[in-house]
Point group: C2
Chain length 314, copies 2
DNA sequence: TATTGATCATAAGAATATCTTATCAAACGT
DNA sequence: ACGTTTGATAAGATATTCTTATGATCAATA
């Protein structure tokens, strides 16, 4: 294997440019013998003469000229690697793979992604939407850089930071808009529609009702909040959805939204990443941006001033 | 300036491939700590993390992946430089710039160039045809690799090696074919046609006639041997040409060729190159090839068996 | 839950490599 | 001939890089 060094290439390039050992050495901020030796070593390593040393002038051999071109290419590539590193360390640049749970993604991402691409022009955001266990696995596997899930995750290898708290609201058919607010326990007696197994929000809803989060209770489990709301709108029962989903999911459905009183059910949405991730520093900043966007998203439409939302289907 | 080393790039590439410090170190034939340190140094130099060290696995960061690609490019370029050097040192390859004097070039080159390109497939031969002083200057300036001229040149910085001796022959009009052979001195009394000032052959011819090689004697100086022969053929006088030119130049002219007797006039054609030229070793071999070709060229057509050659103009 | 094994980081000293200063040798110009 | 310029060489100092030994962390295991 050829064993030249980048240092030799730099010296060589300088000598090729100056055609004078003394001046090239000065340009490299080393002594002339140091340069002479490195050039000699490089010639030995290559097994070819790079310069023709005349008494009064130093001239590149033909091979030397070709080599100088190559050397410049190599040095430029090495410098580019440095530039690339600098760019990647100073700001969040390049690919960022975010995982988000399905009960958050559609409501949070539009705001966050817009904000992020505006703030970090070089950022290439990839979104993965699936349930928490898969996200955690992919995070651990290094297939994701960060994930937005309901806390706590309690993985010792993961850093977690809360983003915002999100209340659950009751969704009833428009007909029931004025019925009294059921208690958590009384929800058990009603026809409570839930997301299918695997979604953390299903477990959180069950937990609120003091129900075990076991296997499917009914065959009516839905695969999305949107479906749930449509089912409620069709009079199939009641459901809980996270507050942030309200503006989007109830826009085109005739349902009544009610906030709970007293011990309001809620969950904490947070961001997690590997403690060992080199992006850790930047992910904290990133979390701050998501936090702001999320709090705005939760407050913005203020759909809770009225307990009822009876838009009809388009 | 970024100060990574090729060594680091090699180690880095190995670690990127193995994703395991121990095995990568083994592949590089160094100890694991040595690899760890070099990778760390490289990360410090770049100011960016290349690997995410997990307890059970080593993983490239996103930047690391990009860097690995670049590193491979750089390493490949460096290896190519080595290959290039090997190719250039083993045999005569690449550009070879040969200077040849005009009284040799047309007669010698066709044979030599064919022979050379056959023997050295990678050789790219450039020919420069001009008078000796210019050739020597260009040789000294490094604009030529070697030159074929009449010896001696007597430049201490130049190596010179004889190729062959070349007699001068007398060219007379066909009418004079049977006239007695003039002596060197009697040539002075005849109308001796010569090449223009600057050609060494002019001086050699004058020297044979014991004439000073000063400024133009006549306005009839020709710019090529071909013209000289045509002039002789037209009855304008007599001339001398080097033996090697006979087959070519008298093919289509009605002239008589006579060799001198006794102290036959001749010159030594040789090859010269800078003593400091890195091609010096190969140029000796090269000279040997030219020598053979030249001797064949001088013998081959054997036009001297008959003193007369009276082909007519086509 | 303590233990073990695997894995990478760190430390200290040895081995190399690289640099500097001083000097030499060749070659050019005066 | 003589001094100047220029690159090569020598010797010792400095810096880097390597090795061996050890530490720390984490996961799998008993």
């Amino acid at each position: 294997m050829i064993n030249i060094t980048l240092k030799q290439l730099r010296y060589f390039e300088a000598l090729a440019r100056h055609r004078h050992f003394g001046r090239a050495a000065e340009a490299c901020a080393i002594s002339q013998p140091a340069l002479s030796m490195q050039i000699k070593d490089m010639e030995d390593a290559l097994g070819a003469t790079l310069f023709e040393r005349g008494a009064r002038q130093v001239r590149l051999t033909h091979f030397g000229e070709v080599a100088a071109e190559r050397a410049r290419d190599i040095l430029r590539a090495a410098d580019e690697l440095g530039d690339l590193a600098r760019a990647s360390r100073e700001r969040l640049v390049g690919r960022l793979r975010i995982g988000v749970i399905p009960t958050v993604a559609p409501y949070l991402l539009p705001k966050v992604v817009g904000e992020l691409t505006g703030r970090f022009p070089g950022l290439d955001i990839h979104v993965r939407e699936t349930v928490t266990p898969k996200l955690i696995q992919e995070l651990a596997d290094g297939r994701l850089d960060t994930a937005i899930v309901a806390l706590p995750v309690s993985e010792t290898s993961l850093e977690e930071t809360p983003l915002f708290e999100e209340p659950f609201v009751l969704v009833r058919s428009a007909r029931e808009a004025n019925a009294p607010l059921p208690s958590a326990d009384s929800l058990r007696e009603m026809r409570l529609l839930l997301l299918e197994e695997g979604h953390c929000f299903r477990d959180q809803a069950l937990s609120f009702c003091n129900l075990p989060s076991g296997p499917p209770r009914e065959v009516l489990d839905a695969s999305s909040l949107s479906t749930l709301v449509q089912m409620v709108s069709a009079g199939m029962g009641v459901t809980l959805i996270p507050a942030m989903a309200v503006p989007v999911e109830t826009r085109s459905a005739s349902v009544a939204i009610s906030r709970f009183e007293g011990p309001e059910p809620k969950r904490t949405v947070g961001m997690v990443w590997r403690k060992s991730s080199p992006l850790a520093g930047q992910l904290s900043d990133f979390a701050e941006i998501v936090r702001e966007a999320g709090q705005n998203a939760a407050r913005d439409p203020k759909p809770f001033s009225s307990q009822t939302n009876d838009n009809l289907l388009a």
